[in-house]
Amino acid sequence: MKTEVRGNGASISIQNPSLFNTPQDSITGALKGCLGSLDGACIEKLLLHCASALENNDVTLAQQVMWVLNNVASSVGDTNQRLTSWFLRALISRASRVCPTAMNFNGGSMIQRRLMTVTELAGYVDLIPWHRYGFCVSNSAIFKAVEGCTKVHILDFSITHCMQWPTLIDALAKRPDGPPSLRITVLSCRPQVPPLLNVSKEEVGHRLANFAKFRDVPFEFHVKDDPRLSNESLAVQFESLLTQLTRSELDLREDEALVINCQNWLRYLSDETKGNSAHGFSLRDAFLDIIKGLNPRITVVVDEDSDLSAPSLSSRITTCFNYLWIPFDALDTFLPKDSSQRLEYESDIGHKIENIISFEGFQRIERLESGAKLSQRMENAGFFSLAFCEETINEVKSLLDEHASGWGMKREEDMLVLTWKGHNSVFATAWASTKLED
């Protein structure tokens, strides 16, 4: 790992050539070399110190720690450095609220994000199995559940703009007894989180319809809209949403098999309980209650397996840091440091980090709960857990085989969990609203 630097006849042997990567070197370059070897635990502690300094209004200390973190952070460095750069950004964003500056941080994210085209988004969701895993498990479970049905209606609650459905349409098209007619309904209100698309939902539906026609699957696409609410906050929109989830509003038909698909969705519904804590009922619970009332044939819930909605900032920082290294590490495995796809993907995760760490109250819309907790919530709402069949498991296994090794899968009761190097990343569950008579 030695490189030679020549200048004026002298030759210097350098043991750590990465220090020379920066064209203009300074003390900070040297510092980066030293501090860059700080391990994850140390960085985590620094983050916690910074957070507690902010909470105690100790600006000086906060600035000092930020200075150190800044010298570790690099959005094009190794996994730890990249993670640190996004966490630092989130802390600075938080600090700006503690000590307001002249800059305008109007409560929204400062992270600029390019809007993607539909084909770019199609590539994005397949960069790592993070999303594709959920799609694969859910579609397989849905396919099984609608066996023999001639009409299927999917209520799609997700943030990935229908990227899940082409493979399901393809599978339904190849059904031996012919495809069912398929209806997909999405909501017009969606949390303003990445991935962001440069076209409307209607356009997405148009393309999907096009594809379905190409595969000879009778298809309808609906956008459930409430134009009065387009400028309201997410909380208000969601509350209104609940009133719209009725059989008549959704135009549910008697002869169709109803499927509820919740992907990375439930976390945006507030989990703060109203009323007594003993009989607390949150928006999330209310949503589940309504869904159950629609008597769907199957409800699939997929989300990230981590508890990131604790009231304590320190707890969130710790959990977040120890969880989100997983996608960063996965990307690091096969994409180079300057890959724009990787930077964009990490930036979207950074957006999430910023919301979790820098915001509070109704602005903190990321309220993720782990699979175990969510399963408990579903059971409390009266759902019955469904096990995934062998075919589903085999499909997932062959999916993971096609990706970098390091991805695995494990079963936790009826839940299927995607793992990276053994660590839980994404969980998938399936639920029935009535007990199956077997």
Partner: protein, 515 residues
């Protein structure tokens, strides 16, 4: 004792100083929790840190009877059975085996950290090969290189065997990504529009373009589908025929109606245009976020990110951003809005490395770690900063400076410029190690913090910075001792006096040899 271990410690307990390159894992208190926390291994697990040589040794498990070596413990046990051992000796040496996790010997690796240890010896071996090892195996078809033979074998099996090509020309090695892409690709939309206008020549719709058959040329007259196509939205377009009555608040599309719409687009542009401005923001859901804007291309967005925190990029100034600069940088710079993405995206088949059949980590069903949340920091902030300094200094002090070879004489002479880290000219009278690092300090080796901070323009406008750091002009044993310790230990670790003694002026060849 079949296992050759260089270092053994617990994730949670204290570790003895280990073999070269390993850092002390930070002590953690044990707090058992039932629920596993993602990303954190069992705090009671025994952390094994093997040297690279031991890790890559092929036959670590040795039979005590005949000294035959095996790659896997199971194979050794199977072999031992063949020796017809008496019952007592057949048992493994009795103690309860603690759960073991392994760290990567490479100090810069993220898995070197005990909190990121891997639970599987085979896993860490393969990781070490893949990440830090030499890629000796090369695929003949596509020239991809692999460090682990099984990865190479697995790749060769599927390389070139399955390829899906979209009409737009993009190649995919996986079917689901191909299908997803195809569903949304412009090529499909244009092809179906063409099929509608030319029903006689419509290709068999059941055939998917899974082979690399060339696409018929696309009609230029087909409507551009990348722009929001409001024609399908039937909110208030009574002119278009609809099979179903529509409720006020929903918009529906049917695939049977769609082809009629595209041909009617040309005929009724005015109603379409009315819809367009109303619909364009609908999908974007304007809310309080200011973050939704497009940046011109990938490289400029990464420069936004990079310029935030990088101390030195090609375009950034020499000085690292002071805190005020950080805040300034965060405010979105004015970027031209260019909706057309110009960053080429690597085709998926090239991005992903393929794995072998039996993923090591795939047997995750067997793993059931108990995770615990990390304990609250017991150290004060100043102590932590000191520790950061020590760790930084200890781990790479020697290597940093020896490796840099940047030690120069205390006498003012000769072309110090050669040792410049930056482009700036160093005042030759400030010949010292610090000068070599571009610090422009007086050549007193025991530079105090004040001199360190004041002497370098690297920290930006001096007054602002000093105030920012709360040091004031008279920096002396202030409450910011931690930061002081950090700076001086890095500055002090430069070992100026020793360097000055060892080297004459300007003789840099010895430096090379020393490292």
């Amino acid at each position: 004792m079949p296992v050759d271990v260089d270092n053994s410690s617990t994730v949670s307990g204290d570790a003895s100083v280990s073999s070269s390159g390993n850092q002390n894992p930070p002590p953690k208190s044990t707090a058992k929790k039932k629920r596993s926390l993602p990303g954190m291994p069992d705090p009671d697990a025994e952390v094994i840190a093997l040297s690279p040589k031991t890790l890559m040794a092929t036959n670590r498990f040795v039979c005590e009877i005949c000294n035959k070596g095996f790659q896997r413990d199971q194979n050794l046990q199977l072999h031992r059975r063949g020796h017809n051992l008496p019952w007592k000796l057949r048992q493994r040496s009795g103690k309860e085996v603690r759960k073991r996790v392994y760290v990567c010997p490479e100090p810069t690796c993220v898995h070197h950290d005990p909190s990121r240890a891997l639970g599987d010896l085979t896993g860490i071996k393969k990781h070490f090969s893949r990440k830090h090892g030499e890629k000796k195996w090369k695929c003949d078809k596509c020239s991809k290189k692999y460090a682990v033979q099984s990865d190479w074998k697995a790749h060769s099996k599927i390389c070139g065997t399955r390829e899906y090509k979209c009409d737009c020309g993009t190649l995919f090695s996986r079917r689901d990504s191909f299908i997803t892409h195809r569903a949304f690709c412009d090529a499909l939309a244009e092809e179906s529009a063409k099929a509608q206008t030319n029903p006689s020549s419509e290709p068999d719709p059941k055939v998917l373009a899974e082979d690399s058959s060339p696409t018929p040329t696309l009609l230029p007259a087909s409507p551009p589908v990348s722009a929001p196509a409001p024609v399908e939205v039937q909110v208030s377009a009574p002119a278009l025929p609809l099979p179903l009555p529509l409720p006020q608040s929903t918009s529906a599309m049917t695939s049977s109606v769609m082809p009629i719409q595209s041909s009617e687009l040309a005929e009724d542009p005015s109603s379409v245009m009315e819809e367009a401005p109303a619909l364009a923001p609908a999908g974007l859901n304007g809310s309080c976020s200011s973050g939704v804007s497009s940046v011109s291309n990938g490289s400029s967005s990464s420069s936004v990110f990079a310029s935030l925190f990088a101390s030195s990029t090609a375009s950034a100034s020499l000085q690292p951003p002071a805190f005020t600069d950080l805040i300034r940088a965060i405010r979105p710079p004015d970027c031209p809005i260019d909706p057309a993405p110009s960053t080429p995206i690597e085709p998926i088949s090239l991005c992903l490395s393929t794995s072998h059949g039996s993923s090591i980590f795939g047997s995750a069903e067997q793993e059931d770690r108990q995770y615990a949340p990390p304990p609250q920091p017991a150290m004060s902030a100043t102590a932590l900063l000191q520790k950061a300094a020590q760790m930084g200094a200890a781990a790479s002090n020697a290597s940093l400076l020896r490796g840099l070879g940047v030690v120069s004489s205390s006498s003012s002479s000769a072309p110090q410029e050669n040792l410049q880290w930056g482009q700036r000219q160093v005042d030759p009278s400030n010949a010292s190690v610090a000068a070599g690092l571009g610090l422009e300090l007086p050549c007193d080796g025991s530079s105090g913090l004040k001199e360190l901070m004041m002497g370098t323009p690297v920290f930006g406008p001096k007054q602002t910075t000093l105030d920012f750091l709360g040091l004031g002009v008279a920096a002396s044993g202030s409450p910011n001792g931690g930061l002081t310790a950090l700076i001086t230990s890095i500055g002090g670790g430069l070992d100026v006096s020793a360097a000055a003694a060892t080297f004459g002026g300007g003789d840099f060849k010895d430096i090379g040899r020393r490292s």
